[in-house]
């Protein structure tokens, strides 16, 4: 039987029950949310369960929703089952004042650089990461540029007049 979204949802609900929420299928890609304490348990199950077999972490990043109080930062995992060629997306939400999420590096080696990048741009603190330092931005940078409260423009510049540049 080919692995489809309904089967995946069924297997996951059997294992975790109502803990997993917000099931969606945008453009046919199964997406769901878990509490952030559960992220490693869910990932481990997706990895180990022979009928699911999601062994490849394609992508990992964060999204900042400034209006969702207490759930400002979403960490998104993109997983790929290479045997059946099925992809799913899995999110956890965290409070921006305490952005601690368990690191997936023990399970997926590819999470190492991607978690560093996510830390670099959003300041998500991945607990258990072996080397959580900036990866793309300069080391001296003292903020997380992709968070919405920071303007995109370089703030060191003094010669740009707001009136002239329409800001």
């Amino acid at each position: 039987m080919p692995l489809n979204n309904d089967t995946i949802q069924q297997i996951l609900t059997q294992k975790f029950g109502e803990v997993l929420s917000d099931w969606q299928e945008p453009y046919g890609m199964l997406t769901f949310t878990a509490p952030k304490e559960m992220n490693l348990k869910v990932l481990q199950f997706l990895y180990d369960e022979p009928s699911l077999n999601f062994r490849f972490l394609t992508d990992l990043q964060a999204v900042h929703y400034p209006d969702k109080k207490g759930q400002e930062l979403a960490v998104v995992y993109h997983l790929h089952n290479l045997v059946d060629n099925v992809r799913i997306r899995f999110k956890v939400f965290t409070d921006i004042t305490k952005p601690d999420v368990f690191s997936a590096t023990a399970l997926y080696q590819s999470a190492n650089f991607m978690e560093r990048e996510t830390y670099d741009f959003f300041g998500v603190n991945f607990t258990g990461h072996p080397n959580l330092i900036r990866i793309l931005n300069v080391d001296e940078m003292d903020y997380f540029p992709m968070r919405k409260e920071f303007p995109l423009e370089d703030q060191t510049r003094v010669d740009k007049d707001d009136e002239m540049f329409g800001r």
Partner: protein, 187 residues
């Protein structure tokens, strides 16, 4: 058959500096001779990171031919070069690299900043891009444009030649120059 020598009559020579001349001697200031020699044999070091670098390639190639101005030899070792030509976007992460290249050049050294990105960050007004290389190294001539045409780069190069030719031999030892470098945290 003899060679058509008349084609060589259009050779352009640099003019001799102002001098006292008589039979068998010529007296002028050392500064002028050195300036003349330097300005007509500038070795450029291209630091090309993006589209302005493509324009520079055209500038170097046969059609525009930068070597007409005495820059036949493009050096790729900063230690041998006189002119750092920065062409393209310099990200903040690349800033220390550019600075290191500048520090490796021997005095006297000049810097030509080509294109909007090198001069001011250009359209990349963002957290990751250096807003003008003059934040980390002193710049002598700015060439605007996005990207500038080869003619504009040549014009900037001629401006550099002007500076080189007129520079006082003592400038690099002067307090003003040391102050300038100190303001960049060099030395």
């Amino acid at each position: 058959m003899s060679r058509p020598v008349q084609y060589n009559t259009k050779l352009k020579m640099v003019e001799a500096p102002e001098a006292m001349m008589g039979d068998g001697f010529m007296a002028t200031s050392f500064e002028k001779v050195v300036g003349l020699a330097r300005k007509n044999s500038i070795w450029p070091l291209p630091f090309a990171t993006s589209c302005c670098g493509i324009e520079f390639m055209a500038t170097m190639a046969s059609h525009y031919d930068l070597s007409r101005f005495g820059s036949e030899r493009v050096g790729f070792s900063p230690r041998q070069c006189d002119l750092l030509m920065v062409m393209g976007t310099i990200s903040k992460k690349m800033g220390p690299v550019l600075r290191q290249v500048y520090l490796q050049m021997a005095e006297p050294r000049w810097v030509l900043s080509v294109g909007a990105c090198a001069c001011s960050g250009g359209i990349f007004d963002t957290y990751s891009v250096l807003q003008g290389i003059d934040q980390i190294i002193p710049v002598d001539v700015y060439v605007p444009g996005c990207p500038p045409r080869p003619e504009a780069i040549l014009d900037g190069f001629l401006k550099i030649q002007e500076l080189v030719g007129q520079e006082s031999l003592r400038r690099r030892n002067g307090d003003k120059y040391k102050e300038l470098l100190a303001s960049y945290g060099i030395q």
